[in-house]
């Protein structure tokens, strides 16, 4: 078993007691709530005549069903309106803070937590959403839970968990030009598989990870679950603290920052920590990486051939064959040149200000291909406002992108933003499952925001490193 890792330390600090099931009861430091997975949990609470135990440690927003176009209430989609109304009633009745669209703070739950400083190192963070692993970027222990567990957290402030193993994933060296955090995590999942992390928590470390800003670290931790690991984290460091200092939680309270910093430092993994497994990946060898199939583990560097299913381990062959048929790709080809119909820049993986800045810098002076429907969905209202203040919205709109309101949008197609028929999408999101983007014949190619921008411009999957720089005046 691991010893002396951040995971071990945060676990121990939050352990209330052992349970007769063999699980531990963990105190939850921050419970994030959204409209899709919470209503049933609030319903169960009411059935049991219980109240929310720690409303002050709970924060809600609306992201999955919220329209990214016309947001006048009532929403045109009656089901969405019902879910929104239910959430409003539940959180207001319980005294839970709510970043709703009128607050100017609404956004994807994994974007707003970090930007408001709700997410802090050494916390346990849960949410009824598998991408809760995002918050691990701050050195928190953060993981997704199901609705019955949401009920547990609402009623008791705790979650019942079994301790897992820790795998250190060390990404060495420097990332090349045009290579981003998204390429790193797609490469990791490609190497370790979509179920390689089952039973593990991932500790991301090494030079390439330490050099990343918080946005990149969030993109990596975000997709831990796509590799089967329920949680992933990066040890907190000066980069983390710098981000925190600028958030609502600490900007006006430097004393609080200084008071908590020793705790954050204390939960960092010890130099002599023991891991259950260590994997090393050469970061300098990573290319811009995309998916060729229908799981986030079916990835290839942009110049690498799509594998022949017959060359894969036996258990992966059938999935690969079905995926290649669905995607209409051939073994031996590369993904470069794969025609796309839609470019989606958004989601909890890649819709933060830095992502939009990088994509905009590429798009400036270029135009979206005539046959491509391209959209940018900022991760939150604050991201949107900051991007607009810099004029990024104009850059995108001038190039032919649709500039929309924040939400999960086409990542999972719960609002009007969906693929139609067999459209192919270049997407900065996290899942390329069949049907994920709203059409069961739709085809999703996952990639980084700048690769989405390049695909939007050329109409096909493109090696962003091959694009000539456009001089902007």
């Amino acid at each position: 078993m691991s010893e002396g890792t951040l995971y071990d330390k945060v676990w121990d600090r939050h352990k209330v007691t052992g349970l007769p099931t063999g699980q531990d009861q963990l105190f939850v430091g921050l419970h994030l709530v959204h409209e899709v997975t919470s209503p049933q949990a609030f319903g169960m609470l009411k059935e049991r005549d219980q109240e929310v135990a720690f409303p002050e440690r709970t924060h809600a927003t609306v992201d999955h069903i919220v329209p990214t176009g016309n947001r006048d209430r009532p929403y045109r989609d009656e089901a969405a309106e019902e879910m929104m109304a239910e959430l409003e009633e539940n959180v207001r009745g319980s005294g839970i803070d709510f970043s709703d669209p009128d607050s100017g703070d609404q956004g994807i739950v994994h974007v707003i937590g970090p930007e408001q400083g709700l997410t802090q190192p050494g916390m346990t963070i849960v949410c009824g959403d598998s991408h809760t692993s995002t918050h691990g970027a701050f050195g928190a222990l953060a993981f997704g839970i199901g609705t019955s567990q949401i009920r547990d957290v609402l009623a008791t402030g705790c979650v019942a968990m079994e301790k897992q193993k820790v795998r250190r994933i060390e990404v060495t060296g420097e990332l090349g030009e045009g290579v981003t955090a998204k390429d790193v995590i797609l490469t990791i999942i490609g190497k370790l598989g979509t179920d390689g992390g089952v039973g593990y928590v991932y500790e991301y470390a090494g030079e390439a990870i330490e050099k990343l800003g918080m946005e990149g670290r969030m993109s990596i931790c975000n997709m831990s679950i796509e590799g089967g690991a329920r949680a992933g984290y990066v040890n907190p460091d000066e980069t983390t603290y710098e981000w925190l200092e600028g958030t609502d939680a600490f900007a006006d309270d430097p004393e609080k920052f200084e008071r908590l910093k020793p705790y954050w430092e204390s939960v960092r993994t010890d130099d002599d920590a023991e891991y259950d497994d260590v994997v090393t990946i050469d970061g300098s060898a990573i290319e811009p990486t995309v998916t060729w199939g229908t799981t986030p583990g079916q990835t290839a560097g942009i110049t690498e051939p799509i594998p022949d299913p017959e060359d894969l381990p036996e258990e992966d062959r059938d999935t690969a064959r079905r995926a290649q048929k669905h995607m209409r790709v051939e073994p031996g080809d590369t993904m470069e040149g794969y025609e796309i119909d839609v470019a989606f820049l958004g989601s909890c993986t890649n819709a933060r200000l830095k992502d939009l800045r990088e994509a905009a810098a590429f798009v400036e002076g270029r135009e979206v291909d005539d046959d491509v429907r391209a959209m940018v969905v900022p991760g939150s209202q604050r991201v949107r406002d900051a991007a607009e203040a810099e004029g990024l919205d104009e850059v995108f709109k001038d190039a032919g992108f649709d500039w929309r309101e924040p939400g999960c949008s086409m990542c999972l197609g719960m609002n009007d933003d969906q693929l139609v028929g067999d459209e192919a999408s270049a997407s900065s999101s996290n899942r390329n499952f069949v049907g994920r983007q709203g059409s069961k014949d739709g085809r999703t190619v996952l990639m980084s925001p700048i690769m989405v921008a390049a695909a939007a411009v050329t109409g096909e999957v493109t090696d962003v490193r091959e694009m000539e720089e456009v001089a902007t005046v």
Partner: protein
Amino acid sequence: MSSPEFSAGEAPAEKVTEVTGTGIPVRGNDIDTDQIIPARFMKVVTFDGLGQFSFFDQRFDDDDNEKDHPFNEEKYRGANVLVVNANFGCGSSREHAPQALMRWGIDAVVGESFAEIFAGNCLALGIPTVTADQESIEALQNYVEANPDAEIDIDVAAETITYDDTVIDATVHDAQRKALVEGVWDTTALMGANAGAVRETARSLPYVPEEDIPGGDA
């Protein structure tokens, strides 16, 4: 607002020591939760009625015509033991997935391996997720296809799956087995009983201010 007191909840959950019934095979590795229940069916505020949407996009084409899928086949009506392959339930944390399967009639899932959150969500509903090796699972799937009316018996405590004259040496994860067999899978009630210790833990954390902790002074 008055400080809410924790409640120990209701009676302990029922014991799940054994599941017996007929089987239904759904083949393929990495069957994700978007396949088990597409997101558009999650625009609901209760889980009622989700059963009919299980595997919806695998079962129906764009014109709502039935496609080949075990969940459409008459011979599997009434089956309660789902037999799957590897990494079943990967993807989203949506409890809607096991809720839909449960409401369709599934009481237990047997497979090569499961995604973690999915297995946890099943446990919260009292549904065992039982694993066995690939060969045994494929043999069981073949058997169920040929004998849809034959009885399969899952002994959760003994970790066996019995059909015909075959006994599969299966695995039920330790904590899950204990929870099901002893009827302690209602974790709200279990944890609610430790309210005092919860407050103590909360107080020991430097980032939790006293005013966030309900239940009055220490």
